[in-house]
Symmetry: C2
Subunit: 390 residues, 2 copies
């Protein structure tokens, strides 16, 4: 099968975007990606749309149709919904559509409009990513779920509250250098530690925000890539896996099994190992998630995720920089857009375009995106070379 | 690329299924499909789930995760949402995943749980398939949209109220012979014509019902197909296209452009023409839709859809039998399941397993599924031979 490259990327500023509708956000990101690739919309063969909850939030399902209609195209448009991993799963469908030769050029758009809606709907929407029969019906929120995982990780591995806050401090420091980030201000460790409690041990600064935003990338086959850019970024590995939606259904509260499995698939397809990864964007919906995931991806030994923060190895300039964009914590988390925004950060990092937050000499990158507490895991690996094993 | 076959199919009875949850419906359909193929769940490489509105209806997004969790598998599971065409678009993603060699065996499940929910949510959900900014916000319901199309078709082509009712009579007659149908009773033309008005000219018997149900098929590559069945049914063509969500955005109120385009793609891929189709399942969400679609698929000349009903050519035994299952009108319309149920009816018809409603000597079949008033169109063509052109 053919090699697949990202040849253009664009995103909106993430944040409280009361100035833009769902449709306008999607169009803005799409136009920027097309401009970036120097590609005409007419060249695009198909759209894949990542979106989690427009049905609940803005009374709009059929968002694949809405986006195609807003762009004025009649090409196939397909909407993927896999909770917080909707963006990366949409990207994966598009990746395979190009890889297998079904389409030559695909535009993938992740979009979510979360703030310009009654707050009660946002609460309802947050419940829909959990199991409605076992958890949602009882008002079990994402923060409650991750608080349980955090407490288990603390008990089993001695992870401390300070480690959680260090994730927030690092990601806010990175986000302060990202003009697309929802939050662009640094915070101190003291401020992070002293924030109001949300779900013990997670406080306000352990939680990613409710954001609006859209992100778009253009994929094409290697044979067409150089027509659009001198520096294509290849997707060389992809893995996706499922696990229980419920906390009680998890094999181990301190591991996200679907991320472990997806990572294994992606590393195997790419022919690389954790030590080969130069930069990573991971799903830090809550600070504990980043700590668990850097273990599950094999960047550090299981249980040493907290210590990694102390050692600074996940800082820009560290051994394995994690979330140079600011992550979900500071860049924001417009759910359907998140997985695509992660890919865009890696695209920019590998192309040396991440001004102010650039990781030096990054050639291979990874993005990790999961839904709920890991019912869907999705990992992708990117490289400047279509075959870095050579 | 490889040829793709359906080797197993199963569905639940459609109707008001207060006895079964969303999860139970999905599992029941999946188990029947696996039993039909004599396949173990462990052999399945991936799940594709077609679902429109579980987020609105039962407070559950991330339904790909829910279904994987309920089945107890950790394989990739991807949810497609394209309004009323969610099922067929999920099938198309799975079709391409097999065709391109990404996976060898895929289980596709369409599922919707619509009745066991507050009626107000059902009304809200019906609005979400329209454009929320231009139509949904004003309470513009699907029946209202199709009523406008019906009136336009009547004005332009002389289609009569009786023609609409004839669709209902035919499809109820067929549904009466389908043990899976929501409605299994015949109706007379007088009764259909005299039913209470919903949105002039559409009355109660011109509208498909609100149903619960699930439907599942198993796809594999030609090289594995005979291991599971002596009579695989090949998917030989697929087309998908987009169009405006809004009535005011349509080029012509009497044509569903996305169906015309999708049909052209599917016929071209399959190398067949409308006259080669022996049996079709089409998206008769409202009776006028069947009349328009049999024209748009090329079975009859544009404007002659009403007359086709008079002539009986779409009856079982007619020149081109349409909706032998009873269609959405009588089999019911659990939205995400509908596209898969159409495929299953064609699977059974080509295998001569549609007891009591069998079309004689059917070798090539077609299914047509569209979302909203045609913002997504999706057409698939099936054959007993992997290459009927030979």
């Amino acid at each position: 099968m053919r090699n697949v490259a990202i040849v253009g990327a664009g995103m909106t500023k993430f944040g409280e975007r009361w100035d833009k509708s769902f449709q306008e956000l999607a169009i803005e990101a799409a136009k920027r990606a097309l401009e970036d690739a120097g590609m005409d919309l007419k060249e695009i063969d198909a759209l894949y749309i990542g979106n989690n909850a427009a049905g609940r939030l803005i009374g709009q399902e059929h968002v694949a149709g809405v986006v195609a209609d807003s762009l004025g195209v009649t090409i196939p448009s397909t909407r993927i919904e896999n909770a917080c991993s909707s963006g990366s799963v949409a990207l994966r469908e598009a990746f395979y559509a190009i890889k297998s030769g079904i389409f030559n050029k695909v535009l993938v758009i992740g979009v979510e409009k979360m703030t310009d809606t009654p707050r009660s709907l946002t609460f309802e929407m947050l419940l829909t990513g959990h199991d409605s029969l076992w958890e949602g019906v009882f008002g079990f929120m994402p923060a409650a779920g991750y608080a349980l995982l955090a407490r288990a990780h603390m008990c089993k591995y001695g992870t401390k509250k300070e480690h959680l806050s260090m994730v927030a401090v690092k990601n806010h420091r990175n986000g302060a250098k990202n003009p697309y980030a929802h939050f662009q201000r640094e915070i101190t460790l003291e401020r992070a530690l002293g924030a109001p409690m949300i779900a013990d041990p997670l406080n306000l600064f352990d939680c990613s925000p409710i954001s609006d935003g859209a992100a778009a990338v253009i994929l094409t086959a290697e044979e067409f890539a150089r027509k659009y850019t001198d520096v294509p970024v290849y997707i060389i590995g992809s893995g996706q896996s499922s696990d229980s939606l419920t906390v009680h259904g998890k094999r181990d509260l301190t591991t996200i099994d679907s991320v472990v499995t997806s990572a294994r698939m992606a590393y195997s397809m790419a022919g690389v190992e954790p030590k080969d990864i130069d930069v990573a964007e991971v799903h830090d919906c809550f600070t504990i998630a980043e700590i668990m995931v850097i273990e599950d991806l094999g960047f550090v030994e299981k249980g040493k995720g907290g210590k990694a923060l102390e050692e600074g190895i996940t800082e820009i300039g560290g051994k394995i920089p994690v979330n140079p964009s600011g992550g979900l914590k500071a860049r924001g988390h417009p759910v359907g857009a998140t997985g695509i925004a992660q890919s865009i950060e890696i695209f920019w990092q590998l192309r040396q375009e991440a001004e102010g937050r650039q990781v030096s000499n990054a050639e291979i990158g990874l993005s990790e995106n999961h839904g709920g507490i890991g019912a869907t895991g999705s990992v992708m690996i990117y490289s400047l070379s279509s075959n870095p094993r050579r």
